[in-house]
Symmetry: C2
Subunit: 272 residues, 2 copies
């Protein structure tokens, strides 16, 4: 078998790590792939780690022990995060986005992989130090964002449904009150989808009063599981009372100005 | 500004390319980031291209002209594709997945980022040579897969809804007949979501008779747009008549054997 030189090994190691965020990869995978010594691979990894660090592109952690190896941790700089949030505000500050009822059309944003990926790195970074079993979301618009966050955290996504489906087997349903419209709504989840005693985070596109987040907390209790964090892309702060208090958001939405344009600004929490 | 050496540049170039599939990146981005000459960057790219090619991990294409640059094209080998499809069949061949009505529980598969990513590379590779404007899917289970395919193809995702939502603005709805259950169902899509004259592909988790795919074709006609391809993870061939005939699938599902286990096999189309 032909050998690979350092440049070639670094290309492949970088690709494999980036495609498997927060997953431990044993060094044997690389020694076999490249027919190279462990010490050689370790030197390659030092280069990758230092470069990612220098460019604020994430980190490589070493896990020792028999099941050990290395894992890629997503990350970005405060500067890039603020730049991203500011650019997103400019895209969203468009009166044509306002639909009757003071709602904002954001599907193009939520379904744009370039934007979703950047938002997911910001939100995933907030939870990367926690031991999380699942990222939970509710259909439909937040699914791509929640999926990317789940990928960055190396866990499975769980999608709560508005109604139960024949393909899901037995489901658990709860009723909850939407905090803003005060209407009773239903959410349901397949019994197979979450193991007992799991720790979850909830990711969504938009938070108004937080009734949905509160519903998720109660639904997870039915699975003897716990919600340990909440992250949303846009937080509507133009609401009288929030039903949940601890959450991360990237952008604050505070209603519509005299010219019918949405008022948006990057969340200060990002600067912490 | 400190210079970057070749190893460091290659790490960062690989990461940036992998995170922006099918998007043209101008070489100036790299010359500025690394404070390096264009000729130096071109040599770096040769290394990345050759390595990806040698390991069947995709390709780097050069686009000439003023708006030119390089782009990463996802790809995998026939061997890896078949291995992936076979492993997936083993995971799915479990009688506990069968829910009443001969449905199969596959949410854990469709919401597992590691599996979704691999399936998306297989499906995206089938359409990478076409000029596509959107990847279309219908809520809910196929969304992560369709999102990953959209990312690989460098385009936006479009999610067709089962009912119209207040946040979507004006929508177009059509009725269609589910090919397997013969029930009339509705699908709707925001008028803002697709530009006239677009070329789309439809990606979904599961195809039975193909009634949904046919509905999507008709819905896109309302947007003066065209469906030019279909890709699904699992194709149920245990159905009397298919309503669509040209599509790609990764796995064939042909019903349940005498022990109540699902019968699955990799699609032969993958070997073409």
């Amino acid at each position: 078998m032909q050998k690979f030189n350092r440049n070639q090994r670094i290309t492949a190691i970088t690709k494999i790590l980036i495609e498997n965020p927060n997953k431990v990869i044993n060094l044997n995978k690389f020694t076999e792939l490249f027919n190279a010594a462990k010490s050689t691979i370790s030197e390659d990894i030092v280069v990758v780690r230092e470069t990612l660090h220098r460019l604020s592109m994430g980190n490589i952690e070493t896990i020792s022990g028999a099941a050990g190896g290395i894992k890629y941790i997503c990350g970005t700089s405060e500067e890039n995060t603020n730049k991203f949030a500011e650019e997103l505000c400019i895209i969203l500050q468009d009166k044509q986005r306002i639909v009757p009822g003071e709602f904002m059309y954001i599907s193009d944003i939520m379904f744009n992989p370039q934007i979703v990926q950047k938002a997911a790195v910001v939100l995933a970074s907030k939870f990367i130090k926690e031991q999380i079993d699942y990222v939970v979301t509710i259909e439909t618009k937040g699914i791509p964002l929640a999926y990317e966050v789940a990928k960055m955290l190396g866990v499975n996504l769980v999608i709560v449904r508005r109604d139960s489906k024949v393909t899901e087997g037995p489901t658990v349903s709860i009723n909850y009150i939407s905090g803003s419209s005060r209407r009773i709504q239903t959410m349901s989840l397949s019994k197979k989808s979450i193991n007992k005693g799991s720790k979850c985070i909830f990711i969504d596109d938009f938070m108004k009063a937080g009734g949905t987040a509160l519903g998720i907390i109660n639904l997870l209790k039915e699975f003897e599981s716990e919600l340990i964090g909440i992250g949303v892309l846009i937080d509507n702060i133009n609401t009288s009372k929030k039903l949940v208090h601890e959450y991360f958001s990237i952008i604050k939405f505070s209603g519509i100005d005299e010219n019918d344009n949405p008022i948006l600004q990057p969340d200060k929490i990002l600067k912490k």
